[in-house]
Symmetry: C2
Subunit: 483 residues, 2 copies
Amino acid sequence: MSDLWQSGVVMDESVEACADLCPFFTPEGIVIVGARRSPGFGFILPIALQRQGWGDRLFLVNPAGGELHGLPLYERIADVPGAPDMAVVIVPATVVPQALREIGERGIKHVIIESAGFTEIGERGRALQEEAKSMASRYGIRVIGPNCVGVINTSNRLSTVEVVDEALNPGPVAVIAQSGVFGNILLDGLHQKGLYISKAVTLGNRMDVNECEILTYLHQDPETSLIMMYLEGAADGRLLRGTLDRVTRDKPVLVLKSGRTGSGRQATASHTGSMSGEDELYEAAFRQSGVIRADSLDDLVDMARVFSTQPLPSGKRLGITTSSGSLGALATDAAVKAGLELPPLDPASVERVRSIAPQWMNVRNPLDVGPSGQFLPAMTALLEDPNIDMVLSIAVMPFAVFREFKQRGISVKDWLGSAPELRDLAPHKPVILCSIGDRGFIQDLDEAVGPEVPVLTSPESAARALAALYRYKVMRDARMQDK
Amino acid sequence: MSDLWQSGVVMDESVEACADLCPFFTPEGIVIVGARRSPGFGFILPIALQRQGWGDRLFLVNPAGGELHGLPLYERIADVPGAPDMAVVIVPATVVPQALREIGERGIKHVIIESAGFTEIGERGRALQEEAKSMASRYGIRVIGPNCVGVINTSNRLSTVEVVDEALNPGPVAVIAQSGVFGNILLDGLHQKGLYISKAVTLGNRMDVNECEILTYLHQDPETSLIMMYLEGAADGRLLRGTLDRVTRDKPVLVLKSGRTGSGRQATASHTGSMSGEDELYEAAFRQSGVIRADSLDDLVDMARVFSTQPLPSGKRLGITTSSGSLGALATDAAVKAGLELPPLDPASVERVRSIAPQWMNVRNPLDVGPSGQFLPAMTALLEDPNIDMVLSIAVMPFAVFREFKQRGISVKDWLGSAPELRDLAPHKPVILCSIGDRGFIQDLDEAVGPEVPVLTSPESAARALAALYRYKVMRDARMQDK
């Protein structure tokens, strides 16, 4: 068994340590050590923070002095006025220990180190990281990084991550990414999939602050209701298991973990210096602690969309309505493989649908309405069916039909009905949509149903996301009884 | 064992029967039985065929007579002039046998029946389908359908499927879809993913023409180099296995098969009247006959993109370059799980990359170039490395960097280099790109690399698609030796 899972005591003090992380997310003032005129993050970050409204609490440091973006460049950290309580370090790795000393002397206790060139590059980097760690420790400095891009807090529009502005629109999803680049790129795209975030943290090499402390912080964060995490390896396996066990009782945690294979583990070692350990141990730890593990990045995103918008189902009985029998069959296969059931519909629902259905329609589950136009009544019948705990509605339309509808002034909304009303029919049942085909139709559908009902584009992934929702509920209920 | 796999003799005559299908794809003239003024396919199809240039070879039949879209409506099929050799039937199911009689009397031997309401609705429909089948048989009529939307041939812009015009731009991919709606919707979206088709056929209930005859036809079609198939069940299991075995020696066949689970099989039974049979039998038949089976619709599309653009690799040694270590690790895991290897790079490649790489870069496989900007040299080194049989390049860029590049007039193409040139470096090695994040960047990347190198958006699916390409090559080679 790997050392990773035997080392250390389960450190419950991490709960108390949590308040200690606040200045990372709600600083009074920010010092950027390594602001500069040449291209790179030292140039872009001050602009971004000014745009986000931090200009009056921003202090730039560069030995060259002068001005940058209309702000003075202080030559030494000691020269910075006021009471900044957080620093972002973007200087070459070799200079980082000295920068930490000066930051410590200035009384700043929270530092994000963006610089790379530490444990991830091998022995030489490891020594440098140890030196930096000692320095931070000497001054009682908490460090996020190195080799990261820092944090986001959408509630005060703080972002040291250079994301698009739309990514800063607040939402309920917190993101923990071990890697800076990956976190940045993931966040660049999430808003385009209807996912809005509360907080985000890129951990990098985890010289000090690790995923467990962040998880505990997010557990207590009232703005976060769901946590998405990309992990290459645990800083401390037992600690992670204990932390996840606590957090998932209240908030779902979705994890994408690389290093499933030997080659994958080697890749993570040279990336964030992570010792991934055997995948089976992670698999077991995740299962025992109520974590939902995603099999792919696409599944992680689809699950997040479903978890962040839908209530937990009371059982595993899935109802499917579809305007394509084939897609209904594919979703059915994926749902059953993932542990859901497709029970027969209640006789009253069958009768109700049959009364409005054309002769050729098979009134069963999955319910293929074909081109009957009875999509909305079918969906309503399933939402109100006592045999059904959750509904997946696959809404596709040949482009030619869509175009004809549009030309006649009939919108997707007219065809589908209003999603908020559908929600009211069965507020406790998860309901999601799925569509494929022409992008224009999918976009119209997305707008028609609004943010309450996600429109996914993979029937299999949609079914798996609903199965994950059910699995989370079962795990949480079982662990609640154990309490 | 299911009857499906024991029934019948392997009918090699299907090869000869193939020429018999030509009028479906290259008719001299088309009769639409059931053209009408009210909304529906009987109204839309004549417009579409006129737009596609078939107006002068199009004959509309409706007992009401008069005119439609500027064409005469013949009251009886017997009244149709000229020598049309194909008919599309869009009348209520109960009238179909009579329509077939009149079509037979008129001497037309090829009929697409779009009407639904046959075996897929149960006993009553089954009797009707038998009656129609007898009638067709009496007149020697070949039938595609019923319960389908017919065929597409992009080389003469024939389409009875109501797809967008862009879907009719010719390409090398043939599509067989058992279901009409699904086929239609799939085709609506493929061109937006860079997939262009040669022929497409929706089979519906397969009263007569089945997937085996179509496969044989496509095998001989010079415009088709790859076949994508969605299947709910085989018409004849042994025949299918034999046909696939022949076709896949020359052209890859990618299959998405539903009915993996009991509930999924029930769904297909009531959709196209298919008896799916046990999934294990299909799995074995596909493996033995060199078919690549996709696990999901997304995987099917990604594989088609890779198979339709890339050469077969000479071995299973994958090289990965990436600007995100995390995505590199995820792709590595998926590749190794799917049977590929990530060997060490050749010492000469290592030296070459090291000479231009910053100190922090780990020169290994996967090769994480991070923000070094050395994406193109790294990709070139892997393409020229004798230890590497194929290359996956994961190109991501934080939106802020992308925006800065754009503002300075630096395009993605400048950053990445030109893909056709990259192709020339190693014409026999598959190379694909993968990207995630902001949609704008992905679109620019797609345009920059051109149609020769697909840009996929799932690192795991991209790795699986390359593994499938290798698997196809191995199966084909093994079966060639057996000859």
